[in-house]
């Protein structure tokens, strides 16, 4: 098998496929491989937090301490930082966003498994969900018409409204896409990079010689470095997704 074929196969392997059901099209009733990993990651998240919340001690220790640390991180570094104490109402939602993304990203880092966030189906759905939630919060706070009016930045000259307002509306509607594509692309690209270095290592071993020994060793080193980097990306993307959700919520509450 040459390099081109291997990469083709890698890309093909990263596509969703039906584990249960018959894949007859985008709207067919199937359970894809990514959904299996997603459900595993979500189940693990639930088990982790429910177990941790039953094992809390005043002097922090063990699994309870890790869960507390995570919640405290979201509370202090995301919710309180962006929204202040009024954001505490949304803490459960933002905690869920953060840990749903984080656990899925991390699960994909276990060799052989894939992240539930590695398919657009998941990331786009969650992007739309965030879009619906923050707009609903804005409408509830200000009323539909004042909220829609607030899309226009204050101080816009009247003769520019025809241009600015549609742009602002479009930028809002782009948010679920940017949220979804950013997370998906990061996970997808990370797996391609790891996969390609993996292919290099395997191909070098298959045709062992002086040159391939060097290439294979370097590829293995690169794969280890990239793996560490992907752990970092997995965390950063969860943080970015959660903080953008918070920023959008804050923007909906405090219209300009």
């Amino acid at each position: 098998m040459d390099l081109g074929e291997s990469i083709q196969e890698l890309l093909h392997e990263l596509q969703p496929f039906a584990v249960i059901g018959n894949n007859t099209g985008k709207t067919s009733l199937i359970l894809t491989n990514y959904m299996v990993f997603l459900i595993i990651a979500i189940a693990l998240t639930i088990v982790f937090f429910v177990v941790a919340s039953r094992k809390l001690t005043l002097v922090p220790k063990g699994v309870g301490n890790i869960a507390e640390w995570g919640v405290e991180f979201v509370r202090n570094n995301i919710v309180l930082d962006v929204m202040g104490s009024e954001g505490m109402v949304y803490l459960p939602f933002i905690v869920t966003v953060f840990f749903a993304v984080l656990f899925n990203n991390f699960l994909g880092l276990i060799p052989g498994l894939k992240p539930g966030t590695g398919t657009l189906g998941t990331t786009f759905a969650w992007g739309i969900m965030v879009f619906v939630v923050y707009n609903w919060v804005g409408v509830k706070k200000h009323g539909l018409v004042p909220y829609l009016k607030s899309f226009l930045p204050s101080g816009t000259p009247w003769w520019l409204v025809w241009l600015i307002y549609p742009l602002e509306v479009i930028s809002h509607f782009l948010r679920p896409f940017t949220l979804g594509v950013r997370l998906y692309a990061n996970m997808y690209a990370g797996h391609i990079v790891l996969g390609i270095f993996g292919i290099f290592v395997v191909m070098s071993l298959a045709a062992l010689g002086p040159v391939t020994a060097v290439v294979g060793t370097l590829s293995l080193v690169m794969q280890i470095i990239m793996y560490a980097f992907e752990v970092f990306v997995a965390f950063i993307q969860a943080y970015v997704f959660a903080i953008l959700t918070t920023v959008y919520l804050n923007g909906a509450l405090h219209t300009h």
């Binding site: 359970l31 997603l38 639930i46 429910v50 941790a52 919340s53 869960a67 189906g121 759905a125």
Partner: protein, 166 residues
């Protein structure tokens, strides 16, 4: 482009999964965690406050003890000083009294000596007179008239008496 379009079933499964996770965290996991975080924050705040209170109290006690110690030192100095003064006065008194006593003893002794001396003199004079008469009798072998005796004695006594005058 076709590959980019998500599967409808993926959208649904991920939304439902998110919903389940949200309810699990919101209803079951987060309340105890938030409660614990608040409790701990409260506990730490209390502990810090209590520590501060204890520190202030300790400082107050230290000041109090220092003050008491200073007072005690002052008091002891005062007592020692007083003691010294009393001792000095007593010493002076004792010395003065001793001097006085010595003086009076000396004076009495002097007086007694004078008295004894006078008595001794008188006795001596009497004996000398008798002795003189006896000696004269023996030497002269004759008896002088009473008048001779008398004048002789008086003359002699006057001589002896002049010794006493010294």
């Amino acid at each position: 482009m076709e590959a980019i379009i998500p599967y409808t079933s993926e959208l649904l499964v991920s939304l439902v999964s998110f919903g389940v996770l949200f309810i699990a965290l919101w209803k079951f996991a987060l309340p105890p965690i938030m409660k614990m975080l608040d409790e701990r924050a409260e506990k730490i705040k209390d502990s810090l406050e209590k520590a501060e209170e204890t520190r202030v109290e300790a400082e107050r006690l230290l000041d109090e003890y220092k003050e008491q110690l200073a007072e005690a030192r002052q008091e002891s100095n005062r007592v020692i000083e007083q003691g010294r003064k009393i001792a000095e006065t007593m010493k002076d008194e004792i010395v003065a009294k001793a001097n006085e006593e010595r003086e009076s003893m000396l004076a009495r002794a002097r007086e007694e000596i004078q008295g004894e001396k006078r008595t001794a003199m008188a006795e001596l004079q009497a004996q000398v007179a008798d002795l003189s008469v006896a000696v004269a009798n023996r030497l002269i072998g004759t008896t002088l008239s009473a008048n001779d005796h008398k004048s002789l004695i008086e003359k002699f006594v006057a001589e002896v008496g002049s010794l006493d005058a010294e």
